[in-house]
Amino acid sequence: MAHELPSIDQLRDAAAAQGIHPSDDDLEAVQGFLRVLVPAFAELEQLVPLDMRPAAMFLPTEAP
């Protein structure tokens, strides 16, 4: 994950591409979350070994 915090304009464009139109106040609040999350995810990338398998997700078990 990129380490830079996206700008308000970048966030607005990315949201619009998904059909969502938040206000600048909303996007400033989003930046508040991303300010904590982006570096944490970048650090996590270094901590999880590449050969670590994913956890299982559940699928139904009924007969066909």
Partner: protein, 466 residues
Amino acid sequence: MTLVALAQRLRDGETSPTEAVEYYLARIDALDGSINSYIAVMEDEAREAAAALEGSQPRGGLWGVPVAVKDVIDVSGSPTTAASDVRRDVAPADRDSAVVEGLRRAGAIILGKLNTHEFAYGAMTTSSRFGPSRNPWALDRIVGGSSGGSGACVAAELAAGTLGSDTAGSVRIPSCFNGVTGLRPTSGRISNRGVVSVAFSFDAIGPLARTAEDCALLLGAVAGFDPADASTVDVPVPDYTEGLEKGIEGLRVGVVRSLLGANVDGRIREAVCEAIDELAGLGARVEDVEVPMLKHFGTIQQAMQFGEATEVHLETLRTRLADYDPDVRARLLTGLFIPSPVYALGNRGRLLAYELTREAFREVDVLVAPTMPTLPPRIGEDTVDLNGEEILYRLTIIPFNSPWSLVGLPVLSVPCGFVDGLPAGLALVGWRFAEPTLFRAGHAFQQVTDWHSRRPQLEQHAGMVE
């Protein structure tokens, strides 16, 4: 009175289902105006259900017991609002959720639907379109969340027991802040059918009540495999009330020392350490334990939780964005900007966290830590005092709650003391499906302490005569 004691009185014919329902309805009428734990009181339905039980042979462990459920849980005939304007026009549920079916099968009577943080996506229960719930121990304080109504309801004795839901602490936090006992069960222990999802791979319904024994009885009524919910696991459901009296002699208790440092209010730390001493006095073998990388477990959960939560709301984010409360809207929007590889990274990190935690459980049967590191903030404030420093409340939650949700472990929160008149909680964490061990430990603790039986002084304020 505890839920178990009420159930016994009902079975023995010392009180009737109608008397039990009327008792709680009167208390709700007198007290809930100041607490706001209920979104909807189902008076008529409750009275009808009680009348239908009158004269019948008691059957089921909860026969005639009035309970209430968080308003993310479907109850047939009632709209599930999730405390959101987004769902203000939602139709009444046409079917009970799996857990309400379980409660009714056990003979329980549904009193109503309880307040929650909007869409159960936050830990304050102040974002509800029905207004904030207020802490029965201090009405200017939050009740925690997201199952805040469920916790306050039990504390104020407005139902014998409640159900909440827990994605990242939402049963445990209000249990702690309201001075009641609550369980986040093993992931997959209880069906989520008919429940509004926060993040599907973390969601777990859980009971809140006065005691560990109460929660054991409630869990037995709602646990089990459900072919309609692929997240449930086909593991037999024991009688959780059996064996509670066996005590904890020789139980291996691991103290998560990294959760008992400067990151905890010193007065809460003291209460938790005294509780651990009580467990040792009951014969538990106490030792310190460290779970490697524990401080990163919350980040791993967030790598997955944001995307899972946002996906549920994509359509209404496009069409009803302004109807969300600002804090929930910000969380949901944040999920739009977390790249999909982060989700995959989180899922690999999740198995790593599981393996590391399993390693710790090779040495112990139960882990212990504070349920919450601080007292509840005042309503309207988003910061909280931690040893003289004001910090964001939401950042205090994650390290103490997310790790156990991430790896799907059961956690029982029991009251373990008071600080400035507000409750503190001890979290007992077990390995998967070790709920019987947690109930046994919680019950043993509650036999030698009285924190769980202390009551907020509400009746005097309301002018009620008990």
